[in-house]
């Protein structure tokens, strides 16, 4: 093909804009409009059924003094750290398993990824039944290996690790898939020369596999962090933030403010802070990822 002058290339490209317009209208209506509306509403005091008034940044200064909200941030971070670290470790280990060749690999991998597509509410219900302190199957399994029973989601100390367990079951497959994608893209030469040099499997993993898979792993960590921060369905169905407020994460707090108390201005401010937190976490991780790419 002839090389077109850049203005003509631009004109040709701009002809394709019309394909985007319908979707753009939808995105503006259901995605961008809510963002703008939320930002504006966060500057207002409004409870549904009462008159609205502009209050500037008062919602935010109120949040900074709201101990229940500050507590929910702490719990969200605690939950997120666990719900990222454990699936990442297990996801890498299971990716190493699925990277081997064995019969029925495709079929077993298909079974392994079922949890990540399953309906969260349905999954949460089954886990609720498994967590039952008297009749639940988990305490029975603990008793089989000689461990004392746990109160799981019914005690403030164990509720968050127990909820993380559900998340680990739900999302380890996603990490596994991303890391597996990284493993299958690895070049074979460094492994061959390492083997010739007599490197042990652990040395090869540390010196070759891990650094090469690290960029993929960082993508997995970023996705998992965003999702863990946003976890709602399983926590809401299993504990609704309880016992007391022991598992009340930002998202649960937000739900209660908006749709139990109908404080829309206050809740919108929570959304803004929450979104900022997600963006900051993602950018931090992206920064780490850039560094791992350079070195």
């Amino acid at each position: 093909m002839q090389r077109a002058p850049s203005s003509r290339a631009y004109a040709r490209r701009s002809k394709y804009i019309r394909f985007i317009l319908p979707a753009l209208a939808v995105v503006l209506a259901v995605i961008v409009f809510p963002w703008v509306f939320t930002l504006w509403m966060s500057l207002n005091d409004w409870q549904i059924g009462r008159p609205r008034s502009f209050v500037g940044l008062q919602n935010f200064t109120g949040l900074a003094r709201d101990e229940r909200f500050l507590g929910s941030i702490g719990r969200t971070i605690y939950y997120t750290v666990l719900a990222v670290a454990v699936p990442v470790v297990l996801g890498v280990l299971s990716a190493l398993v699925f990277h081997q060749r064995f019969p029925l690999r495709g079929f077993l991998r298909g079974i392994f990824i079922l949890p990540m597509m399953a309906t969260p509410v349905a999954v949460a219900l089954v886990w609720t039944m498994m967590f039952h302190p008297q009749m639940g199957v988990l305490n029975y399994l603990l008793s089989l290996v000689g461990l004392p029973p746990s109160l799981w989601v019914y005690a403030p100390e164990t509720v968050i690790p127990a909820l993380v367990l559900v998340d680990v079951w739900h999302w380890t497959p996603l990490i596994m898939l991303i890391v597996l994608g990284g493993l299958s893209a690895l070049p074979t030469e460094p492994f061959e020369s390492a083997r010739i040099d007599g490197a042990s499997p652990w040395q090869m993993f540390r010196a070759i596999t891990f650094p090469l898979v690290l960029p993929f792993l960082m993508v997995a960590v970023i996705i998992r962090t965003i999702d863990a921060l946003k976890t709602f369905d399983t926590i809401f169905v299993i504990t609704q933030g309880g016992p007391g407020t022991a598992s009340e994460t930002i998202n649960i707090y937000l739900y209660l403010q908006a749709f139990a108390f109908y404080k829309m201005g206050h809740a919108s401010a929570v959304v803004v802070v929450f979104f900022a937190l997600i963006v900051v976490c993602s950018l931090l991780l992206l920064h780490v990822r850039q560094k791992t790419l350079w070195t």
């Binding site: 077993l108 990824i113 597509m117 399953a118 969260p120 349905a122 079951w169 299958s184 709602f232 929450f274």
Partner: protein
């Protein structure tokens, strides 16, 4: 190294058990990795097929002694579960079709025009918590009087389906070879017909995957229905949640209801398993 320099026969008997050991270790780790995934679903199935007596027994009964479908019958007879199933099919079906209608051309347009701005918006929307769309849309639906209708749910579910479809199709069209379309354009075919008669038929498999993924994520969504749906317009996840909270807790029917909700998704997953594997590895659809 020649065969003569190292005596072969003694090496053999040492090697064989070692390889066997490796194989055994590999299979053991496969079993450890896969069993939690499958066991939770099997436990769900087991609970749904047992009587209440067997479900509350301790130690737990794993394999039903007299499997019964009574729990499923109870779910559909005691609550309008048929209606809820229909609601879910309508909401997820219509929002997915609408998303395909606007999203497939958009994915094509973005791939061709390199409109990365809209792609950026979609990426940010992926980071935004679902609840933050609900507050404005909830207020909007109250103002226009749509609260509690299936329409309000269909519109809200576009928040889920449209970004997925555009994202998947964008990647699909970017990896598609443009020669055939370019040849058609040179022959005087306009871009709209090149899209409709060449690009779309060539990307049928991508459209199917985008549609199924959008349908699954819409089907699984709980929070939109929990806030917006009325008594008659509940989707399945909301209905199941209500079985948990408002009725006497009986494990059999509860597990049966949970299975009814998630089984269609699991079946669809099996169909697009391969694409999920490659698609997610390539850049993260979800």
């Amino acid at each position: 190294m020649t065969a003569a320099s190292r005596p072969q026969p003694p090496a053999r008997p040492v090697r064989l058990p070692r390889r066997l050991l490796r194989q055994a270790a590999l299979w053991a780790s496969v079993v450890v990795v896969v069993s939690p995934a499958i066991l939770v679903f099997l436990w769900m199935l087991s609970l749904s097929l047992k009587t209440e007596l067997e479900n509350t027994a301790y130690p737990p009964i794993f394999i039903p002694r007299a499997p019964t479908l009574a729990n499923f019958v109870e779910v559909f007879q005691k609550s309008p579960f048929g209606q809820y199933t229909l609601n879910s099919i309508i909401v997820s079906g219509v929002s997915t079709l609408a998303a395909l209608l606007v999203g497939v051309p958009a994915g094509y347009g973005i791939a061709k025009a390199r409109a990365s701005g809209l792609a950026m918006v979609l990426l940010i929307s992926r980071m935004t918590p679902g609840l933050s769309y609900l507050i404005p849309l909830f207020i909007l639906f109250q103002v226009v009087g749509l609260t509690g209708t299936l329409w309000s749910l269909v519109i809200t579910h576009l928040v889920i389906t449209v970004p997925i479809v555009i994202w998947v199709m964008m990647g699909f069209f970017e990896s598609q070879h443009p020669e055939l379309e370019e040849a058609a354009l040179i022959d005087g075919c306009d871009i709209w017909r090149a899209f409709l008669h060449i690009a779309v038929p060539l990307s049928r498999s991508g459209i199917v995957v985008a549609g199924i993924l959008a349908f699954i994520y819409s089907w699984n969504n709980f929070i939109f229905g929990a806030v917006l749906a009325g008594r008659e317009t509940r989707t399945l996840p909301v209905a199941v949640y209500n079985v948990l909270t408002f009725e006497q807790i009986a494990w059999g029917p509860l597990a049966a209801a949970a299975l009814v909700v998630t089984l269609p998704v699991l079946v669809l997953t099996v169909f697009i398993q391969r694409q999920i594997v490659t698609g997610l590895a390539a850049g993260g659809v979800k």
